[in-house]
């Protein structure tokens, strides 16, 4: 899961303080492993350096931190690129895909298309593996099958999520 882009995505919903950002992150994604404040500020600094966000100036706020951050145009297109670039199917994929979906829903973007794109990518990978099985040794066939079943598990998750997208949208929005 790409924390940098996830924080960028969260910031895309509305300009906010680093403190609020950390709490949003924890609420959505940090159930098992909350983000450290240090990590948040380091990430924000890197994003500013890359021109993906900018500071909105200081004002009095609730927390110790007075800076508010906002996503730039460049930041937005980076987000879109991230969201609609399918990941290589891998064991670590799901959390990233999950993050993408939630962000897409938060941004009111087309989460369904995101899933479709990912599905197409998965399918094309499966086709490759299935084709590779033709005439292969049993060892290789079983290796391909191992990969196929893992991808299939992702695909099932994609299908299930696609089917419950509306429900998910409601919950994400309400959170």
């Amino acid at each position: 899961m790409d924390n940098t882009l996830t924080l960028l995505g969260l910031l895309g919903t509305r300009p906010s303080h680093g403190y609020d950002l950390k709490h949003s992150y924890d609420r959505y994604f940090g159930a098992q492993k909350p983000l450290a404040f240090g990590q948040v500020y380091a990430t924000l600094a890197r994003l500013i350096k890359n021109g993906l966000i900018l500071t909105l100036g200081e004002e009095s706020g609730a927390g110790p931190d007075r800076k508010r951050y906002e996503v730039t145009e460049a930041g937005r297109s980076r987000l879109v690129e991230w969201m609609f670039t399918p990941d290589i199917p891998a064991a670590t994929l799901q959390s990233n895909l999950f993050a993408k979906t939630v962000i897409a829903l938060l941004l009111g973007d087309d989460a369904e298309r995101l899933l479709d794109v990912q599905r197409a990518e998965h399918m094309s990978r499966m086709r490759e593996l299935t084709a590779a099985k033709r005439g292969a040794t049993l060892m290789n066939v079983l290796m391909c099958d191992h990969a196929l079943f893992h991808i299939e598990a992702d695909l099932r998750w994609i299908d299930l999520t696609a089917a419950r997208l509306n429900e998910l949208r409601e919950q994400v929005r309400a959170a």
């Binding site: 298309r113 599905r119 197409a120 399918m123 086709r127 299935t130 084709a131």
Partner: protein, 250 residues
């Protein structure tokens, strides 16, 4: 390994469109099963049709095969302008004849007549086409052999395993030399290995004979035998787009 695979799976370019649907709409009572489907299927393509239950997959297959007439839209069939027919414009008799001669069908289960032996089941489409029984049986035997069922020729469907029964069904679908094979959940009742064997046979034979195949399936692994997949959701075809197109569009 992955790079090697990538090079082998570049789909061969299909030039001639064989089946083409435009603006298909089908309504059952108050339910809209298809709400405007556009689709082109090329000659020799193997296509997987995926989508949630009740999304209109079977209805799409039925409309494309001329089993039902859509409430709106057209289905053209034929690879050259001269031989192209408007399936929706044909009457029931002509559509039945077209299905018999040009299309083959495989279903999830229950398609074989329980009273008939495997070979008789396979010969039925030929007999329906008016072939002499002797010739029909000979041809049916050849096809059973091709699908590895030579020994089961005289067994009844109840004496066959699920995978064998599906292979008999495939033999029956292909025995007339159809140009399009429609398969509705052909592996739906089979275990992984049996499903795999059926799919290997089906796609091998289809590619050898240049048969265009449309497979409805829930199963991603079954679908992975296809050249590409299309996704039906809420009566619309929503996928089938290439990866690059979607990224470029954003």
């Amino acid at each position: 390994m992955s790079t090697a695979i990538a090079t082998t799976t570049v789909p061969t370019p299909h030039t001639a469109v064989l089946l083409s649907a435009r603006g298909l709409r089908v309504t059952f009572g108050h339910t809209e099963a298809l709400r405007g489907v556009d689709l082109d299927i090329n000659t020799g393509e193997v296509i997987a049709v995926m989508g949630p239950s009740g999304s209109g997959k079977s209805t799409l297959l039925h409309a494309l095969a001329g089993v039902i007439v859509p409430d709106a839209g057209t289905v053209s069939y034929g690879s050259t302008p001269a031989e192209t027919v408007e399936i929706c414009a044909l009457d029931e008799t002509a559509r039945a004849r077209l299905r018999l001669t040009d299309f083959g069908f495989v279903f999830q289960f229950g398609q074989l007549l329980p009273d008939l032996s495997a070979i008789d089941n396979v010969s039925i489409p030929l007999l329906l086409g008016g072939m002499r029984r002797k010739d029909a049986l000979r041809q049916a035997r050849t096809w059973l052999g091709r699908l590895g069922l030579a020994e089961q020729a005289n067994q009844r469907p109840t004496e066959l395993s699920g995978g064998q029964a599906q292979r008999v069904a495939i033999a029956r679908a292909l025995v007339t030399g159809p140009r399009v094979l429609f398969a509705d959940e052909p592996t739906g009742s089979l275990d992984s290995l049996a499903a795999e064997n059926v799919m290997v046979l089906l796609t091998d034979v289809a590619r050898e004979t240049g048969t265009t195949v449309l497979i409805i399936t829930h199963d991603a692994r079954t679908a992975s035998y296809a050249d590409r997949e299309i996704i039906v959701r809420d009566g619309r075809v929503t996928a089938g787009f290439a990866l690059s197109a979607s990224v470029a569009g954003s």
